[in-house]
């Protein structure tokens, strides 16, 4: 039975994981795409889901956690509703991307260690390179790419989201 844990053993939310696992034939070699699909579903990798995935693939939880923590794309902490990613590739860096990050972090009261606001509204992170170097510096807010960014305009984008959230 180790290979077939019941889909509802820890509540209904595992049903989707079950579908993902089946789609990938429950092969341990498919661990990276499986975790990608899980993260797309939950927006992060919840601990209990990782344990579940390990059981289903018949590998140790350490292996699954090892992979989940190795790749920067995977998050084991929940992310805020709005994801703000600043590109800090070389082109963006030489075009002064860091002052933009500083300005946004300051507006939201975040720093290097605290990436998500306590109200879970924003997560601010840097990304190595988005390949949109022609538009440097680049800020991505909820998958929308904003090029030739400045600290003032970055903060304006954040203010606009806050205003929108408050209106709702």
């Amino acid at each position: 039975m180790r290979n077939q844990p019941k889909p509802d053993c820890k509540g209904r939310k595992f049903v989707k994981v079950f579908t993902i696992l089946d789609k990938h034939g429950r092969k341990p070699s498919r661990l990276v795409p499986i975790l990608q699909a899980v993260q797309e579903e939950y927006r992060y990798l919840p601990e209990e889901v990782l344990t579940y995935v390990a059981t289903a693939l018949d590998v140790s939880p350490a292996r699954v956690f090892g992979v989940a923590t190795f790749y920067s794309h995977f998050a084991i902490e929940p992310k805020g509703k709005h994801l703000v990613r600043l590109c800090d590739g070389t082109a963006c860096h030489v075009k002064d991307s860091i002052p933009i990050l500083d300005a946004i972090r300051k507006r939201l009261g975040l720093d290097e260690k605290h990436k998500t606001t306590p109200d879970m509204l924003f997560t601010v992170e840097t990304v190595a390179c988005l390949g949109a170097c022609g538009l440097a510096p680049v800020l991505v807010v909820d998958e929308q790419v904003h090029g030739q960014m400045t600290p003032e305009n970055g903060v304006k984008l954040i203010e606009a989201i806050i205003a929108q959230e408050q209106a709702q």
């Binding site: 990276v32 992979v67 538009l135």
Partner: protein, 629 residues
């Protein structure tokens, strides 16, 4: 000067020749970010409103429509996007907004006139350039890999076929033996475009000679080098050319399974590669009977998960096998024992795109460009402080001056203006590479001459930097990157890069002594020696090359506690050049802490005790009299 490789050939008109007009909107990542999809939608509406019958689909047979509107992949001139090309007029409009579409439709498509205000203006001559043949950025390039990026619809396999697509793969599967293919590639002298520059023919021969029922070919599209986007653009602009090259590689070594490993940060490239694979499957180019040859070939697109080290061959294999992406020692080389222990070759996106042309046109044609040890062309991502940022393709051996000053249009200052004496350095090869200075402007860009000056071609990222860039800060930037991306397997890479980073932090924050520099160099040599893979072996390169060419800047930080560019805030000492200051008082008004004093028409002075090094004065001063910030 007309560049023949850029001319739009007749077949490009497509749709059987009945359609006279084409409107092509660039839909690469850069242009999409600037609203290209909205522009396409506006064109669709406005063209229909003007009574012109329009289609978005490519068809080989005669079409009933007057105009074809399509999107293209990245055209390389990202900064000027969204780009709109009108054919056969060969007009290139840039920075087109939704509001401009009506004018283009009424003036150009209906009236046959050029809308001057949307043309590119050459900053050097102030001339309005009508199309790519007038724009120096394009004129000076020779585009082969990028040739069709920008004309064809990347999501139409039919249009790729119409351009002679899959002819090379067909030839490889039906008319050439495995040995013949490998021989042709070896003869072409093609070297891997991903960084190392290893001869592709030799790699293929090693895998071909292996006796194994199962072999794999992997396309390395994990372009992790920050500041480089050549592979992204090729995949977005002409995904079928990559797939075709991959098929030829598979045929050459006798593999029946292929895999394209794309970084997850490139969603558009992932989507277009997946679409290309699906369409090729539908056409029977992939599957159980490729081109009716009876041979089997499958292809899968896999997304990476954000680890730079996975660009290394053995780390990529580990990642595909569902493990942490950690490299292993070589030998055995992947060509002997790779994915699942089977012979595997891993080729870069651009390498595979070149393969198609070599099989089509022969090794001799390929060798006509470039230098004898580095034949062919190379794409570079030109970014940083240059007037024309974007994607370019030039023959190997082109000088740095030609690339940065002529194609790039010169170095810009912080306000974006071109400055004649602004050039400070170019960083080439990303975190594994090094910097080149003014003395290297006439150095031919190829594998061997770059290696001789302590730099490398790498994947082809070229970041230009102006006089306001602190080289110590740049070295720290790369060290921070490699330190974060080190997989942790080798102690010297894991701990050594971390220590090097903290020494660089000491330097830019004013805690360093002469001993720090000695230790930094010593540790750099140790990290190079004690690391298994390319990441660790090359991680100290940016530090070593800046130390070699900009020693004085390190000395200023360490011994004088002063950052000449003022980028390192802790060591910035802004001052006003009394010979330049006219006493206009503008800076004093901007200073948030009132640190600037002086009478009208007399040079001003900054009070160091009050100054918070915000740089507002330097931004305000039109005479550039404020220095050191």
């Amino acid at each position: 000067m007309n560049n023949p490789t850029l001319k739009i050939m007749d077949p490009a008109m497509g749709n059987g020749g009945k359609i006279q007009r084409r409107v092509i909107v660039c839909a690469g990542t850069g242009c999409v970010a600037n609203g290209a999809y909205k522009v396409i939608a506006a064109f669709n509406d406005q063209i229909a409103a003007a009574g012109i019958s329009v289609t978005t689909e490519f068809k080989v047979e005669e079409s009933q429509h007057d105009l074809r509107l399509n999107k293209s992949g990245c055209q390389g001139f990202c900064q000027m996007g969204p780009l709109v090309t009108v054919l056969p007029d060969e007009i290139l409009y840039n920075k087109v907004k939704v509001e401009d579409v009506e004018e283009i439709v009424s003036q150009t498509l209906v009236g046959g006139k050029v809308v001057d205000r949307l043309l590119y203006v050459d900053p050097a001559t102030k001339k309005h350039c009508k199309g790519i043949n007038d724009i120096p950025f394009y004129q000076r390039q020779q585009r082969f890999v990028l040739k069709e990026c920008g004309t064809i619809d990347p999501e139409s396999i039919h249009e790729y076929l119409h351009h002679g697509g899959y002819a090379a793969a067909k030839k490889a599967f039906l008319k050439m033996s495995q040995e013949q293919i490998v021989q042709e590639i070896t003869k072409s002298g093609l070297r891997g475009r991903g960084g190392g520059g290893f001869p592709t023919g030799r790699k293929w021969e090693a895998a071909r000679a292996q006796k194994s029922a199962k072999k794999y070919v992997i396309c390395n599209a994990d372009e992790g080098d920050p500041g480089a986007f050549m592979n992204r653009s090729v995949m977005e602009g002409n995904p079928h050319s990559v797939l075709e090259g991959l098929m030829i590689a598979a045929r050459a070594i006798g593999a029946d399974e292929t895999l394209i490993y794309v970084r997850t940060e490139y969603p558009l490239a992932v989507a277009r590669m997946k679409r290309a694979v699906q369409d090729a499957q539908k056409m029977g180019f992939l599957g159980d009977n490729v081109f009716g040859s009876g041979q089997k070939l499958n292809c899968e697109v896999m997304e990476g998960a954000g680890a730079f080290v996975c660009g290394e061959e053995t780390a990529m294999i580990a990642s595909i096998e569902g493990q942490r992406g950690m490299p292993r020692p070589k030998p055995p080389f992947p060509a002997q024992s790779g994915l699942w222990g089977k012979p595997t070759i891993i080729n870069n996106v651009e390498t595979l795109a070149h393969v198609v042309r070599i099989i089509n046109q022969g090794a001799d044609t390929f060798r006509k460009l470039g230098s004898s040890a580095s034949p062919g062309t190379k794409t570079f991502a030109l970014t940083g402080h240059v007037a024309n940022t974007g994607l370019i393709e030039v023959p190997f051996g082109t000088t740095l001056r030609e690339v940065v000053l002529n194609i790039g249009g010169g170095i810009t200052d912080r306000r974006g203006k071109v400055k004649a004496d602004g050039f400070k350095a170019v960083q080439i090869g990303g975190p594994s590479g090094g910097c080149l200075t003014k003395d290297h402007l006439d150095l031919p860009l190829d594998y061997d001459s770059l290696r001789s000056v302590g730099a490398m071609v790498g994947s082809g990222g070229l970041v230009a930097m102006n006089q306001k860039t602190c080289m110590v800060n740049i070295a720290r930037f790369f060290m921070d990157f490699t330190q974060r991306e080190s997989c942790g397997k080798c102690v010297l890479c894991r701990e050594g890069t971390r220590q090097m980073l903290s020494m660089l932090d000491d330097i830019i924050e004013g805690r360093a002594t002469g001993e720090t520099l000695v230790l930094l160099e010593k540790l750099a040599a140790a990290v190079q020696k004690g690391s298994l893979c390319g990441l660790g072996k090359t991680a100290p390169n940016p530090v070593l090359s800046t130390l070699r060419y900009f020693r004085a800047e390190y000395d200023a930080h360490v011994f004088h506690k002063y950052c000449p560019t003022g980028q390192c805030k802790a060591l910035a000492k802004p001052s006003i050049d009394a010979t330049k200051c006219k006493g206009c008082m503008a800076c004093g008004k901007k200073c948030p802490v009132g640190a600037i004093t002086g009478e009208r028409k007399k040079p001003h002075v900054i009070d160091q005790a009050k100054c918070i090094v915000c740089g507002a004065c330097a931004d305000t001063c039109k005479l550039e009299a404020v220095v050191g910030v």
